[in-house]
């Protein structure tokens, strides 16, 4: 047995490409006519970022703690994971070495090596090395081994003299080996051994650094900042587009949002020194202040930070930015990951009732516990987690709190937050709800809703997703849609544009999807979706979902066929619907569904009966002066629409057809009618002695009269017939559509369906 939807999907097997498709493919030149010039700058940058963030996301996943650790595995500190494996290409095999630190993968280099008894040269990263060649490893740290080598050992050499053979043994990498050396730069040699092949050595320039003091940061990589001032002049949050500007630093690369364009580039930083190698980006629109910011970023020579504030300076001036995640927020977000409690923001502002938060979902924990750091600050409390994210207000007094996911067998690391006293604001509620929502996809897989409420607009919900995490899509799950989803896709991983999504007003949840790369959450379908509300104070949105539990499919005329009302696109669509769709009562309200100015493909009209949606007609379109629409969603028993039984397609029919009394009153001048074969037989007689069989998606052209059909009427088949129209109308058709096929083509193209 098969579910109905599966059978429907299999029907797609009846769709075939054009018969001459292969000839066209075989004879065309690739990238032929009609191709625009490549947008090299953005494409190249986006691809580069996609590759970079894919690697970062993959590495992040691999570094997450798991419940099944073996003795000797890393439990804290930095892990420098070396992977040695045998690659293959054709019948050849060759060794490959990579080093993964903080989620970034680096490829090891060798001068040459002996493999399968032969000496092999290899592209070589020659000294002296540049600052960016060194992989930063923060102490405490260990080197661990993965892959398929029989064994491997590691040595650290001074970067200037490692070829002389000096160095410090780190030992056999049977277990993670601690890196117990003074901070500084080294070349790490990894010598792998494969019994059947050889024992090549690979080299990685690394820089060992001390862990920074609490709050301070030693590297920009992995940090995200929101611009707050240029040359110490604060950004006007409301009046300046730079008010939403931010920049995120990865290893040697950065990307961000200037308020109206996304941008990206490469940078080098050695200690406090800083230099940028070009800034690329989109050119969606001019942005006040963007040029000034980019001038300072592009010419910067140094940076300083106390962990929460970043100052970048150079000859063009300076800018200051606040660490994202360090600013006080109104809504606390806690997620429970394997082995760790993740708090996205360290400071949260309390209300009179406590701290509003979004927690979970359950998966790696059952509850979130809150324990005051100082005993006098209050009692312990907790929030139970559900299958989806849980919104709750937790009674936390101002002060420092330990937050810990709990209720699972394994130990889960806690996090700390600071609860700040309630702030007084003068913002009115109306002003507080923006009409453009902001959602961020973080590289750790989480979704951050910066605007818990968004006011809908006439064409839908406007969202901006200034993310550089590698996420490929954003899915919106409106409560009004049972298990339904609307997805905004950003296939290149970085998206700067705003999105207009046609989703119902009301509560919903959103979740970032990793459509192009590995999902960093590793939780597949259980990824957390975060609540958001699309508010609709003006009642712009009309629900276009049926109120009844049992939906059936009906048709304006006959199955799969569009309704046509030729030459009547000036007629209000509700009137056309009343005429074209049987069973619509005079007391029914026919009005738009969804949003009034939605993009055409999302438009819908609904039939409201006794205050409830009884039918929905989607995507009605005016094609060549003809309104057309496909199947109708109706409530069972409503009597709206034809339930699939063939009718004569009487829109515009000039004929009195027995059993088909409906007639379009707007069609007095129309003489085009579509009927099925059996209806043709019913009609018979003199009226329809002239008819033309057409393919169902064709437009029929006539001159002064029509072509007598000999090719239709195969037993059991369905043939669409177009009957004659008046000479005037035919002339209009001929001119409009530039008909050029011969009558013989009509027969060969006629589709007879069994």
């Amino acid at each position: 047995m098969t579910e109905r939807w599966q059978r429907e999907v299999r029907k797609l097997g009846t769709v075939e490409p054009e018969r001459d498709a292969w000839n066209r493919a075989a004879t065309r030149a690739p990238g032929g006519d009609g191709l625009p010039p490549p947008r090299q700058r953005v494409v190249a940058g986006v691809v580069a970022f996609g590759v970079f963030f894919a690697a970062a996301s993959f590495g992040w996943l691999a570094l997450q703690p798991t419940a099944e650790r073996t003795p000797g595995e890393v439990t804290e500190g930095t892990e420098a994971r070396v992977t040695l494996r045998v690659g293959t290409e054709g019948s050849d095999t060759y060794p490959v070495a990579t080093l993964k630190v903080d989620g970034v993968i680096h490829v090891g280099r060798a001068m040459s090596y002996v493999w399968d008894g032969a000496s092999n040269p290899m592209p070589w990263l020659e000294p002296p090395y540049r600052a960016r060649d060194f992989v930063t490893i923060e102490l405490p740290a260990v080197v661990s081994l993965a892959g398929d080598a029989d064994w491997a050992d590691a040595r650290l050499h001074p970067p200037d003299s490692f070829l002389s053979g000096e160095g410090q043994e780190l030992g056999r990498l049977e277990m993670p080996q601690p890196i117990d050396v003074a901070p500084g730069r080294y070349v790490m040699e990894i010598r792998g051994h494969w019994r059947q092949h050889g024992n090549p050595s690979f080299y990685f320039p690394i820089e060992i650094v001390e862990a920074p003091a609490d709050g301070a940061i030693s590297t920009l990589a992995g940090t995200e900042w929101r611009l707050t001032a240029i040359d110490r002049v604060p950004i006007d949050e409301d009046g300046d587009r730079l008010g939403g500007a931010s920049v995120e630093f990865k290893e040697n690369m950065f990307g961000g949002w200037s308020g109206c364009n996304s941008f990206f580039g490469k940078y080098e930083s050695d200690g406090s020194s800083f230099s940028v190698d070009g800034i690329g980006g989109t050119e969606v629109g001019p942005c006040s202040g963007e040029e000034a910011w980019f001038a300072r970023l592009g010419s910067a020579e140094s940076w300083t930070s106390d962990g929460s504030t970043l100052t970048v300076s150079g000859p063009a001036g300076s800018f200051t930015a606040a660490r994202v995640g360090m600013e006080p927020v109104d809504v606390l977000r806690v997620e429970c990951l394997p082995g760790s409690t993740q708090v996205l923001d360290r400071q949260v502002v309390a209300t009179a009732q406590g701290v509003a938060g979004i927690f979970g979902p359950a998966g790696h924990a059952k509850r979130v516990e809150f324990v005051p750091v100082a005993a006098s600050e209050g009692d312990e409390t907790e929030v139970s987690l559900g299958d989806e994210s849980t919104a709750a207000t937790v009674p936390l007094a101002p002060g420092d709190w330990t937050v810990r996911c709990a209720g699972w067998s394994e130990e889960i690391r806690p996090a700390e937050i600071t609860v700040l006293p309630e702030q007084q604001t003068s913002t009115s509620p109306e002003e507080a709800v923006p009409d453009v929502g902001v959602i961020r996809c973080r590289s750790n897989g989480s979704t951050v809703v910066e605007t818990p409420q968004v006011a809908v607009q006439a064409d839908g919900v406007h969202l901006r997703v200034p993310q550089s995490s590698g996420a490929g899509a954003l899915s919106i799950f409106p409560e009004a849609w049972v298990d339904g989803v609307q997805t905004a896709e950003f296939p290149h991983g970085i998206e700067d544009e705003g999105y207009v999504l046609v989703v119902p007003a009301g509560p919903a949840t959103v979740a970032c999807d990793w459509a192009e790369d590995e999902d960093p959450t590793s939780r597949d379908e259980l990824r957390a979706s975060v609540p958001i509300e699309f508010v609709d104070p003006s009642g712009l949105y009309h629900l276009d979902e049926l109120a009844c539990p049992h939906e059936s499919r009906a048709y304006p005329d006959h199955p799969g066929m569009r309704a046509y009302a030729l030459g009547n696109d000036h007629v209000p669509l509700p009137d056309v619907i009343r005429r074209a769709v049987s069973g619509v009562r005079a007391s029914d309200v026919v009005e738009y569904g969804g949003y009034p100015d939605a993009e055409e493909r999302y438009r819908a009209w609904r039939v409201v009966r006794d205050g409830e949606v009884a039918a929905v007609i989607r995507n009605p379109r005016s094609i060549g002066g003809t309104w057309g629409f496909g199947p109708i969603e109706t409530c069972e028993g409503s009597g709206i629409g034809s339930p699939g039984a063939a009718t004569a397609g009487l829109l515009g029919s000039p004929f009195a057809v027995p059993g088909f009394e409906r007639c379009d009153p707007y069609a007095e001048e129309c003489r085009l009618v579509y009927v099925e074969e059996h209806a043709y037989r019913v009609l018979g007689g003199d009226e329809v002695t002239h008819a033309v069989a057409t393919s169902d998606d064709a437009i029929v052209c006539f001159e002064d009269h029509v072509f007598p059909v000999d090719c239709q009427g195969q037993p059991g088949g369905t043939v669409w017939l177009a009957l004659r129209m008046s000479p005037g109308v035919a002339e209009t058709f001929t001119a409009r559509f530039d008909c050029g096929l011969s009558p013989a083509d009509l027969c060969t193209r006629a589709q007879v369906r069994g």
Partner: protein, 185 residues
């Protein structure tokens, strides 16, 4: 007596030729890889067309153009392609995504799309309520009967992501098209 018939015109599609360039899989220097693309088309062309047809929500014009372009590129890069089928699918998906995106950015114009084939009109209406990737994953999994790993290989995305797309797409189609069990025709 004269009557003529005209199919809806197929627009020249603006497709960025660079979009699929990264899919060519280089092989070692000097290697020669020759493929019988006519046979590949016979075996996989219709399936590729249906996948793109679904991915684009029933846009036959884009599917025709994209499949032709993908094969044209594959033929041009014959020696560089190790496995033509994944190459063709990934190239076609990228081209189709590019085209859909560029269409959204173009000013609205008079719609000229033909009506859906009646056999699949209901299905297409349902598929249009899904995202393009969900449509493609559903069709490759349930129409072409490919395992998830193969769907992922052809779409050029991770298997875990394919499972998410299938999960969400399946749930939506159940709702739209019906979940009751029926006999196979």
């Amino acid at each position: 007596v004269h009557a003529t018939l005209m199919m809806a015109p197929v627009k020249e599609r603006a497709i960025d030729e660079r979009a699929a360039a990264s899919d060519a899989e280089p092989v070692s220097a000097g290697a020669v890889a020759r493929h019988d693309f006519e046979r590949v088309y016979r075996d996989h062309g219709p399936g590729l067309f249906r996948a793109i047809f679904a991915y684009t929500g029933g846009r036959r014009d884009i599917a025709d153009e994209v499949v032709s372009e993908a094969f044209a590129r594959a033929i041009a890069h014959d020696a560089d392609i190790r496995e033509p089928v994944p190459y063709l699918f990934r190239t076609a998906f990228r081209l189709a995504a590019k085209e859909l995106r560029s269409e959204r950015r173009r000013p609205a114009s008079e719609p000229d799309m033909p009506a859906d084939p009646p056999e699949v009109a209901g299905l297409l209406a349902g598929l249009r309520r899904l995202s393009p990737n969900q449509r493609a994953a559903i069709v490759l999994r349930y129409e072409a009967d490919l395992p998830v790993d193969e769907v992922a290989r052809r779409m050029g995305i991770a298997a875990v992501t394919v499972r998410v797309h299938i999960h969400r797409g399946r749930a939506r189609l159940r709702e739209l098209l019906g979940a009751e069990e029926v006999d196979e025709p």
